[in-house]
């Protein structure tokens, strides 16, 4: 048995060297092929954005002209002014509303999720694992199940003027639930906290600090990169939120950008595409800027929650 295998192995070994060399050429060919494929793919993916920019700078006539012009003959920069500064669609106001909403939720989620995740990540108590499974289970829950009773709850709170706040036609009902954490972000931060050495608690306790002090003075400063990811994910999500404001906000001046943009289409019967594209592009730019500035945090956040999930 041993004799047979050794005689068979010898020619295989010389073949291996040749095949490794062969493989190097194969790898180079594959790398070139992949690069070409990626360039073609990227052009297809980016084309709609390019077409959006192009249309936004055309006249109403040129936008629907055949054959289409790829680059506007005479760029109509005033399209942006016409689209955004029309008193019927106060985009600066929409922008302010969107920022108020998404930044409030962002701060609420950063504080609450960092606080809650600390408990789940680093403190021991009976029943903790079961409770955390419950956190994960709520991730699978379709939001529609809680949507209607929440809406009724907030209309009732509005009826009794609870805490002296407006609970309808206001962003309050869209912000308040986030003061109590969001499962997805709690999960993300917990994954990060668990990677920190346990010695911090030991040392802190010896120095006479309590767990709140340890969280506030040691863990929180150490987790700034993860908090960055939370901030970006939260901001990006609520910047474009549509369903929430559609349910609770019913006054044009209180609309966020998403509702303002959608409503912008209706009065023109969906035909004034050059102005629509100008407005859309303006709405798209802020998240793109945020993405480029904080890409690292963002990708990290998605990857941590996606892969380790």
């Amino acid at each position: 048995m041993a004799g047979i295998s050794s005689t068979q192995q010898y020619p295989q070994r010389t073949g291996l060297r040749a095949s490794l060399r062969n493989q190097k050429y194969q790898e180079r060919a594959l790398s070139i092929f992949c690069t070409v494929l990626l360039i073609v793919g990227a052009l297809i993916i980016l084309f709609p954005i390019g077409w959006m920019i192009s249309t936004s700078l055309k006249t109403r006539f040129e936008a629907v002209q055949f054959p289409p012009t790829w680059i506007p003959l005479n760029p109509q920069w005033h399209n942006y002014r016409d689209a955004l500064l029309n008193p019927a669609n106060p985009f600066p106001r929409y922008f302010y509303n969107t920022m108020y909403y998404s930044l409030s939720v962002m701060v609420a989620e950063m504080v609450s999720c960092a606080f809650i995740a600390y408990g789940f990540a680093r403190l021991r108590a009976p029943g903790k694992d079961a409770l955390f499974l419950l956190v994960l289970a709520t991730l699978m829950l379709p939001a529609q199940v809680t949507l209607i009773p929440q809406y009724i709850l907030f209309t009732k709170l509005n009826g009794i003027n609870f805490l002296g706040l407006d609970w309808i036609n206001s962003y309050t009902p869209l912000i308040v639930p986030h003061l109590f954490g969001s499962s997805y972000l709690i999960f993300l931060l917990r994954q990060f906290y668990r990677g920190l050495p346990r010695d911090y608690e030991e040392a802190g306790l010896i120095d006479g600090a309590n767990y709140f002090g340890i969280w506030w003075r040691i863990i929180l400063p150490l987790s700034l990169p993860a908090l960055g990811a939370v901030a970006i994910l939260s901001f990006m999500y609520h910047y474009q939120d549509f369903l929430g404001p559609l349910i609770y906000i019913n006054e044009n001046v209180k609309y966020p950008l998403s509702l303002g943009l959608q409503q912008f289409r209706a009065p023109f019967g969906g035909t004034v595409y050059h102005l629509l594209m100008a407005a859309s592009l303006a709405v798209v730019i802020p998240p793109i800027i945020v993405f480029f500035l904080a890409q690292r945090f963002f990708i990290q956040g998605i990857v941590v929650s996606g892969v380790k999930g």
């Binding site: 095949s19 493989q23 790898e27 594959l30 790398s31 992949c34 690069t35 990626l38 793919g41 990227a42 993916i45 709609p48 954005i49 077409w51 959006m52 249309t55 629907v64 606080f115 809650i116 408990g119 403190l123 108590a125 409770l131 955390f132 499974l133 709520t138 699978m140 829950l141 529609q144 199940v145 949507l147 209607i148 009773p149 709850l153 639930p177 109590f180 954490g181 030991e202 306790l205 010896i206 767990y211 990006m236 474009q240 549509f242 369903l243 998403s258 943009l261 959608q262 289409r265 969906g270 595409y273 594209m277 859309s280 592009l281 709405v283 480029f292 990708i299 990857v303 996606g306 999930g309």
Partner: protein
């Protein structure tokens, strides 16, 4: 290992108290904004209630039996199922292919990654309006391409004219799928990091055993990233059953043409917030909940044979 200053019992009890202090806000939020509403929603689904004035009136299973007799309800379920079957596998396929391509030795990895990810950060309303324009039957650029390439007087005169996309009964769901596929770079990030987590020694061993690219993908890559594929399948299915924004922006709740784009949650929303039929909508929400639950359990069950977990304990929680 741990240095304990206080006696075991006291320290443990103190730690437990602090645990509840930290997770307390979540527990409160869970009761008020999740568990309470779930139960309230279950109760409402057995009542007639307009959500404005008066109290919910108990009507037993009427909302459910009426839904069973409602053709639009079945249509909405069918539309969402069709969209899910079309968009989830295609999305996973393209994301995975893209991740595999990026995982080869290609230059400018970061640039490509950013470019392909760009559509995913576009606000849904803006992206949808953009596609309404691109897919416009008369003036849209996509039909212009089709006409010039394979139209009756095109470069290759096959006589093919572009469909009416979002206005065509047969093409409306494929059009929605096209919109969702534009964001396929979103899944790529997750697959890419999963691929980078596959130990290289496995590939080396497979190569020495004479495995080519396809065999290495089939016997090393795919098993190693199978948990991630399962995760993205489940979240993808749940997400595609909840499509709302795109549908609302495109048809404003009508489900046009001929209810072929009456997505499940769209119909739910119309019943709840446009017709004030809270009880019916609550029943719809519960049916959705059960559908999602059954699908999730089914995927977890069906995947046992296909998904490979490196460590049995998982070490996840």
């Amino acid at each position: 290992m741990a240095v304990r200053i206080l006696p075991q019992g006291t320290a443990a009890r103190r730690e437990m108290a602090w645990f509840w202090f930290f997770v307390g806000p979540w527990v409160f939020g869970f009761f008020v904004f999740t568990l309470g509403p779930i139960l309230a929603s279950a109760y409402l689904s057995f009542t007639r209630y307009n959500g404005l004035r008066g109290n919910p009136r108990w009507i037993g299973f009427d909302n459910y039996t009426n839904l069973m007799d409602n053709p639009i309800f079945w249509k909405s379920l069918q539309v969402s199922a069709y969209y899910t079957v079309l968009s989830v596998p295609l999305g996973i396929f393209f994301s995975l292919m893209l991740a595999l391509t990026l995982n080869q030795r290609v230059p400018f990895l970061g640039v490509f990654r950013t470019l392909f990810y760009l559509p995913s950060i576009m606000p849904a309303v803006a992206a949808t309006l953009l596609f309404v324009w691109l897919l416009n039957p008369q003036f849209g650029i996509l039909n212009y391409f089709i006409r010039t390439l394979i139209g009756p007087e095109g470069l290759i005169p096959l006589g093919v004219n572009g469909p009416n996309w979002l206005q065509d009964q047969r093409w409306v769901i494929p059009s929605f799928t096209l919109i969702s596929l534009w964001g396929f770079g979103g899944g790529m990030l997750i697959y890419l990091s999963a691929l980078q987590g596959v130990p290289t020694h496995l590939y080396e061993a497979a190569t020495i055993d004479g495995a080519g690219y396809i065999k290495r993908f089939w016997h090393v890559t795919l098993p190693m990233i199978s948990p991630v594929i399962l995760f993205t399948t489940i979240t993808g299915v749940i997400g595609s059953f909840q499509v709302f924004t795109q549908a609302w922006v495109i048809n404003g709740g009508t489900g046009a043409p001929n209810y072929q784009s009456m997505f499940y949650v769209l119909y739910l929303f119309v019943n709840a917030f446009r017709r004030n039929r809270m009880g019916v909508a609550a029943a719809q929400a519960w049916v959705l909940f059960l559908v999602v639950l059954v699908l999730t359990v089914f995927f977890l069950w069906a995947s046992r044979r296909f998904v490979y977990y490196e460590s049995e304990s998982g070490g996840r929680f």
